[in-house]
């Protein structure tokens, strides 16, 4: 590893500015098919449904395993050395988001509405090689921040919507899931267009030990609620509600993801300038 570091530090700038290299600014759009690693949000929905049971005319649906898949966009820089084969690397930032609405209706027509939104920010570094500047095979490491907001309100019988404090469960719950993902990708470059396909796996290199929960936090503590996984304990036995066991943890929003992208490369080979 030490030798590799020395090689990169010593020779990377030289490679970067050598003839026949290509440095390109890239614009990227992609689709992320992601699979949740945990289902704690569904624990909330299911325990809510169970708690109110016969008093509900329509229970909550649960979130599908791939329910948070979404499109994204971003930009970055890519670098290729050599013509026939050589070093390939790149760094890019992407952003994508997804919203899911869910509703449950009580027998008296009071409606519980949840809006779950995730925003995904990725910073990915690719390192690998290319063949003929046509096929790129790369490994990657990606810092990923998933910001989640779970908005829970009641729609009253006349249609009025509230997120106030008339009921404790109402609120805007937030949390962040930070992971370092690793993976690999392969892509085809056709002129200025590059089509990469990659897979990424979350690692446990930035652990929060399950301490981070979806939280409606207020500095003055008039709102300091964890979104419960176990609604019955939260409602009937709040003294024994353990946020580390009974609340929705943000680590459950980690996901394995497959991305397919489309990049436009803006930049020519050094020798062409």
């Amino acid at each position: 590893m030490y030798k590799l570091s020395v090689f990169v530090v010593a020779f990377f700038p030289a490679l970067f500015f050598a003839q026949d290299n290509q440095v390109a600014l890239t614009l990227r759009g992609d689709y992320e098919s992601s699979q949740l690693s945990g289902f704690e949000l569904n624990d909330f929905f299911q325990s809510y449904n169970e708690y109110y049971g016969v008093n509900m005319q329509q229970p909550f649906d649960t979130v599908a395993v791939k329910g948070l898949s979404h499109a994204g966009w971003g930009m970055g820089m890519r670098f290729l050395s050599g013509d026939n084969a050589g070093f390939a690397t790149g760094i890019f930032l992407t952003y994508g988001s997804k919203s899911l609405r869910n509703e449950a209706i009580f027998a008296n027509d009071l409606l519980t509405r949840t809006d779950f939104r995730v925003k995904d920010y990725n910073c990915q570094v690719d390192i690998g090689f290319h063949l003929k500047r046509f096929l790129l095979i790369q490994g990657h490491i990606s810092a990923r921040i998933r910001e989640s907001v779970f908005d829970l309100g009641y729609v009253y019988q006349d249609g009025s919507f509230s997120r106030g404090n008339e009921y404790d469960i109402l609120g805007v719950y937030k949390g962040s899931t930070i992971t370092l993902d690793v993976g690999a990708s392969a892509g085809l470059k056709l002129g200025p267009v590059f089509i990469p396909v990659g897979i990424s796996f979350p690692t446990n290199m930035i652990p929060d030990d399950g301490l981070s929960t979806l939280l409606d936090y207020d500095i003055t503590r008039i709102r300091w609620n964890d979104l419960p996984r176990n609604y019955q304990v939260w409602a009937d036995d709040p003294v024994n509600f353990d946020p580390f066991e009974d609340a929705v943890r943000t680590q459950s929003f980690r996901s394995v993801r497959i991305n397919i992208g489309l990049e436009i490369w803006l930049g020519k080979k050094s020798s062409e300038e």
Partner: protein, 154 residues
């Protein structure tokens, strides 16, 4: 090549400027004197019927002021017309998502010093609409709810 670097720098600056905390922006924008131009109070019954309690124009004035060093809180003072009721020097804020407003140490019908959380229905530079709902206990078990809607103008 220079063009590419210029584009990258421009994009980075754009991203940085877009990341300004909207909660702070809202707090700054809310500073000043707001006229509570309209107040509507209704009771929502479990059967869906709505009972009008009152509808009044120009019910009072809400003043929000900046306290040195406070990032998201503003100090509110509330004076109601045709009433001796007034509150001053108390904290106010919106949540991070600008979905709710928080009045601390408010008066909630029968409790002084209660905290009141309202839903932001309209969020415009010179016009705000907030609704506050309270649960009215009903011995029969079916709760009614009292909804107060304020429309504020600057």
């Amino acid at each position: 090549m220079k063009k590419s670097y210029f584009l990258l720098v421009a994009f980075t600056l754009l991203l940085t400027s877009a990341c300004k905390d909207k909660q702070q922006v809202y707090a700054s924008r809310m500073e000043g004197v707001w006229n509570i131009a309209h107040e509507e109070i209704v009771i929502i019954h479990p059967d869906g019927s709505v009972e009008d309690v009152s509808e009044t124009d120009n019910v009072g004035v809400l003043t929000l002021t900046y306290e040195e060093g406070d990032r998201v809180f503003r100090t509110y003072s509330l004076t109601l017309t045709n009433s001796t009721f007034s509150l001053s020097g108390l904290p106010f804020k919106a949540d991070e998502e600008l979905k709710r407003v928080f009045f601390y140490n408010f008066f909630c019908g029968d409790i002084f010093g209660c905290d009141w959380v309202g839903t932001i229905e309209v969020n415009e530079r010179n016009r705000q609409q907030w609704s506050f709902i309270r649960r009215l206990d009903n011995p029969s078990g079916a709760d009614s709810h009292r909804k107060t809607t304020w429309t504020l103008t600057k």
